[in-house]
């Protein structure tokens, strides 16, 4: 049994193409059933996000499966058969495992380390589980992918530093004020960026928001959104001493806060530190303000610099993540190959033979006065028992080889007789569910 991946992503297809092959999350039943209805496909999962559309399948005939999956993606969406030839990639076996582990761990994402992709794959898997298009192998496979992703997340700092300007602002604030609880944010102007950043601040503990705008109504409106307080544009400088974080993006052509004013503010604050995020172009705050002790002024370029540095960190971390993934591939691959019938029968026989030999040795050492003839007949007797016992399981395993769900028998035998190479850790209970005939 082989794992196969066919799909396209932001790396191979522009958005115009991706949107044409996307699957609607509200109607997954029909595509999933059509997908696993394909003759070469045993189990199937469809992952469809705004950055990628991928089909995961298991098959005994990888060649045919790849061709059928490629055709399925075009025909299902009513495209020409060769419309996606340039965009689609396909992977099998170890490569397919690597690809899915990398995708789940967010190494293949547009922004490396972004956290959504794992949730999206979990949802996709949820549909496949709901419509019963995933069986033993894909169940194990996906759970393995989830645990690999979790390992990557905890053992590397791939997702630890902000890669968006507004999150970068929050992180900076955390390096200045250890906690944002009880801090006050002032929004000057009503730029979208400021609003977004303010929302991040509020989500991270900021409790008090003040808003000011040249148009007072707009300040009021935004203040209501944040359950904060609106200030008129003339008044706001008087309140600066209570503000810990300023987010500003007005369209003003000149500086709205000068160094002199801020020196006065910081004196009134008894030197309590202030973080000022100036997203406006042209800038709202005199850059000299950064020279004042205890005021930290960041403009758009500074924040971009932080984001770039963090991205670089993530790329370094990604290398480590690849190492983790390689390790996990090996383990999963061993389990997958253990599902082959013939090697399983061979190791089952070996196990029985070991037991027989061991027990015989024990008995013979107690029964020292047996004649060689007697010994021989005991040996023959025990062999016959083993053969009789193993006859039916062997036939069933051989017969099930080409059946749907035959892997379940192989897996069960491996588990019951302790033959398995260490199965990928995680969800043994998943196995029980898939064995359940219901």
């Amino acid at each position: 049994m082989d794992i196969i991946v066919v799909g396209l992503s932001h790396k191979t297809a522009a958005v115009e193409i991706r949107e044409r092959v996307a699957f609607s999350p509200t109607a997954m039943e029909r595509p999933l059933h059509e997908f696993v209805g394909l003759s070469a496909i045993a189990e199937g999962i469809i992952v469809s996000t705004c950055n990628r559309v991928e089909l995961y399948a298991t098959s005994r005939d990888p060649e045919a499966a790849v061709a059928q999956m490629r055709r399925f993606l075009t025909s299902f969406h009513g495209l020409e058969a060769d419309a996606l030839d340039e965009n689609l990639y396909d992977y099998r076996g170890e490569e397919a495992i690597r690809h899915v582990f990398r995708v789940a761990s967010s190494l293949d994402s547009m922004v490396i380390g972004e956290p959504q992709i794992l949730g999206q794959i979990k949802t996709s898997y949820g549909y496949a589980a709901e419509y019963k298009t995933a069986g033993l192998i894909l169940n194990r496979f996906l759970h393995k992918a989830f645990s690999v992703a979790k390992r990557v997340r905890t053992e590397t700092s791939i997702a630890s530093n902000a890669v968006s300007v507004s999150f970068a602002a929050v992180e900076l604030a955390r390096k200045i004020f250890s906690t944002l609880d009880g801090k006050t944010v002032l929004i000057i102007g009503a730029g979208e960026m400021c609003e977004l950043a303010a929302r991040h601040f509020v989500n991270n503990g900021v409790t008090s928001v003040m808003v000011t705008n040249r148009t007072f109504e707009r300040a009021e409106k935004l203040a209501t959104d944040f359950q904060g307080r609106a200030l008129t544009f003339d008044d706001f400088p008087d309140h600066l001493a209570q503000v810990d974080i300023i987010l500003t993006s007005t369209g003003a052509p000149t500086f709205i806060l000068e160094k002199k004013k801020m020196e006065e503010v910081i004196r009134l604050r008894k030197n309590k530190p202030m973080l000022i995020i100036d997203i406006a172009v042209p800038r709202d705050i005199d850059p000299k303000v950064n020279d004042i002790d205890n005021i930290y002024l960041y403009d758009v370029d500074d924040l971009q610099g932080v984001v770039q540095a963090n991205l670089k960190e993530r790329h370094k971390e990604a290398k480590k993540a690849e190492g983790i993934i390689e390790q996990e591939i090996g383990q999963f691959h061993r389990w997958l190959t253990s599902l082959e019938v013939v090697p399983t029968i061979v190791s089952l026989r070996q196990r029985m033979e070991e037991i027989r030999k061991g027990e015989l040795d024990k008995s013979f050492s107690n029964l020292k006065d047996l004649t060689p003839k007697q010994r021989k007949s005991i040996e023959a007797l025990t062999s016959a028992i083993i053969n009789k016992v193993l006859h039916t399981p062997t036939t069933v395993l051989k017969k099930s080889q080409n059946d749907e769900g035959g892997d379940n028998y192989v897996d069960a035998v491996r588990v019951l007789f302790d033959l398995a190479p260490p199965a990928p850790e995680g969800e043994i209970k998943q196995l029980d569910e898939s064995v359940d005939p219901s």
């Binding site: 900076l172 200045i176 030197n271 370094k316």
Partner: protein, 278 residues
């Protein structure tokens, strides 16, 4: 080798290992050796206690008379106070700044004469252990403030210049560092004050005068005024952050001068007999 010297060497070794583990944790990207460093440091502290107690047993006086003993006691105080802070803050980075300090003191202690003193009758007063314990615990607290001050200045520089070294990610927030500075001040200042007062009382009982303007006394007073100024500034005019960090660093240098410089350069009643040959 006497028992206390054996334990001194074991302690030195443990501190060395702890320092290396802490430094690796802070310098290397993803190696988390700090936890082990903590346990080794605790082990070192225990052997250090044994060192001091066995030395007390051997010499019959609180072993803070010679330079060797003072350095060792200073290092032990720093480790003790650090471990107390560690309960509250759990800062591996702080350890990476504090442990080397204790280690250097220990190495210094290992390099000078380790002979025990003849029992000077002046030392045979229970004011002696009280005075030195208070003084050294105060010193140790200010050593932590010194380390936090350096960390603050580094972190502040990176935030201002917007150039972030890998250390940036490991250092705690400015606010945390500043609150360590304040905590140290509120603990260290009373300890130091009581150290000076107990010293005066002891001086009165030993020499019949509370204060004799011995160079060490004068310098201790200068140091005391420096920390008093910082505490006052913090409480009234809102000195904090960079200025408080710089003060903590200056204060510690002043303190080190009181500890070493006065003995080495100026002499006086407090000088270590091992150095002055008395």
């Amino acid at each position: 080798m006497t028992l206390n010297l054996l334990f001194f060497k074991i302690t030195l070794l443990l501190y060395f290992v702890a320092t290396v583990l802490y430094l690796i944790d802070v310098i290397a990207r993803d190696v988390k050796t700090g936890r082990y460093g903590r346990w080794i440091l605790i082990a070192g502290f225990v052997t250090h206690l044994v060192t001091v107690i066995s030395r007390y047993a051997a010499s019959g006086y609180t072993p803070v008379a010679s330079l060797h003993e003072s350095l060792s006691f200073f290092a032990m105080s720093i480790v003790a106070i650090f471990l107390l802070f560690d309960l509250r803050y759990r800062l591996t980075v702080l350890a990476a700044f504090v442990c080397p300090l204790a280690l250097v003191l220990m190495i210094g202690g290992g390099a000078v004469s380790k002979k025990t003193q003849e029992l000077n009758p002046v030392l045979d007063s229970w004011w002696f252990p009280v005075h030195v314990s208070l003084a050294f615990l105060g010193y140790a607290v200010f050593a932590i403030a010194f380390a936090a001050g350096i960390m603050y200045l580094l972190q502040e520089r990176m935030l201002k210049s917007k150039k972030f070294l890998p250390l940036y990610y490991k250092l705690p927030s400015l606010d945390t560092l500043d609150s360590i500075n304040y905590k140290c001040l509120t603990f260290g200042f009373p300890l130091m004050t009581m150290g000076i007062i107990s010293g005066a009382i002891w001086a009165n009982s030993a020499w019949g005068g509370y204060w004799r303007w011995d160079p060490k006394e004068s310098w201790a007073l200068i140091t005391w005024f420096l920390y008093a100024a910082l505490l006052h500034g913090r409480l009234t005019v809102g000195w904090r952050g960079r200025r408080a960090a710089i003060f903590a660093i200056l204060g510690f240098f002043c303190l080190l001068f009181t500890f070493f410089g006065v003995n080495l350069l100026l002499g006086g009643e407090h000088s270590f007999s091992a150095l002055s040959g008395r």
